[in-house]
Point group: C2
Chain length 250, copies 2
């Protein structure tokens, strides 16, 4: 189906699995890759998964960005996450009749399509693969815990700062950014729906970050001027060794 040469080893999803299971050998990755049903190139702004539809597929992202989002009946939208190279989507519909949320490409995107059931089976049959997937999923859970704190208890300014840091570190990991400059493939309205804010308010927060000398912006390009300051502001990035507890508040 695909050439068996070197490109599989450079696929961001495989790199990611290897990050969680360094002893994963490439023959196992190839086993997974044999199950690829189709290689797809999706233009920007196309829905790939549609909330309410049924599908037996899942997808792995090779390049490009997408967003996972949920629509409420009255049109409110929550963007759940930005899907970046190396991510998987379409796993959640397991045994469900309808996709509970949508995925929409933000830029041109290269993805590989799998049969979801087969994807899981192949992973479960290889101890190393299943270890990698489990660690990957647990890691994802951790990211969503962070997002809950962000949405539930952080100020708008903190949320925007935290989002920028998070997104930057992700695109840095897949080589789409320099140490301090990167492109945002998102409108401010989408960022609002990601962070539980209104579009205009996101704009004001960007303005404040700019005027406080933390970032510079050139249309949709962001430059970090004071990363330390952003970390301090976001309040989540530097792991603290605080030991205050709910039972024994600080």
């Amino acid at each position: 189906v695909v050439d068996a040469g070197g490109w599989i080893e450079a696929h961001p999803f495989v790199l990611r699995l290897r990050h969680f299971a360094p002893d994963l050998d490439f023959s196992e990755a190839v086993k997974l890759w044999d199950a690829v049903e189709e290689d797809l190139r999706i233009p920007a702004r196309r829905d790939i998964v549609i909330q309410g539809w049924t599908s037996t597929k899942c997808w792995v992202v090779e390049s490009g960005f997408a967003m996972r989002y949920h629509l409420l009946h009255d049109g409110r939208r929550q963007v759940l996450s930005i899907v970046t190279p190396g991510d998987v989507f379409g796993l959640a519909e397991t045994a469900l009749e309808a996709a509970p949320r949508s995925v929409c490409s933000l830029s041109e995107t290269k993805i590989q399509r799998f049969n979801r059931q087969r994807f899981f089976e192949i992973c479960s049959l290889s101890p190393r693969l299943s270890m990698a997937i489990m660690c990957f999923l647990v890691h994802q859970l951790g990211l969503y815990y962070e997002r809950l704190t962000e949405l539930g208890r952080q100020s708008p300014l903190e949320r925007v700062a935290h989002f920028l840091l998070r997104f930057h570190s992700r695109v840095l990991a897949v080589g789409c950014a320099s140490e301090s400059v990167f492109d945002l493939p998102l409108s401010q309205e989408i960022i609002g729906d990601l962070l539980g804010l209104s579009g205009p308010h996101v704009n004001r927060m960007f303005h404040r970050l700019r005027s406080e000398g933390l970032i510079r912006t050139y249309r949709r390009r962001i430059e970090f001027v004071d990363i330390e300051g952003l970390h301090r502001l976001s309040g989540l990035a530097p792991p603290t060794s605080s030991v205050a507890t709910a039972a024994n508040p600080a």
Copy 2:
């Protein structure tokens, strides 16, 4: 270590795994159970995992309730989830130096302690176990997606209604509730920290749910008077077949 008799089969965690992998046979569950390091009975209001601490353990809940929470440097608290019988916690610290969040018991709790590394290894060596764990983790992700929508885009009233429905269906599944009555092991302040609201505002929302004839309360016991109404209010429970998309809004 533990009696090999029938109780393993009735453990809520095993029941849950079987829900995701019905072909899981009990001999495999027993393999996992052989790895239990210790059976613990924890009193209410004890921290089991402390944010910032290091641990190589993970735990499975047999009975009782706990909460996962994150503290910010200035004392703000986000309750990430309520840990119920059949849940696991302590997985997220994989390869991290410090636990990124805490877990604190809400009631007296029976849990089993594992070595985290060993837990993962045993799961990855059995295809059926690893399938069950993967499905379980994916399902968990789905729950957190829902919570993101809740925190980011739902009104306080919707959040409280949704929380009550969610919690009820969970305790119903583990047999700690009747069809319409159940106990909440949480103070309103904790519910506030769970839903991104202040304690007093949670109280007002309860008041409204009561005055609109949706629920009744007796101290910390909740009775659903109009479940249909709660579902309609929460806006998430009944899976819709709406096909509006971000690219093509309704």
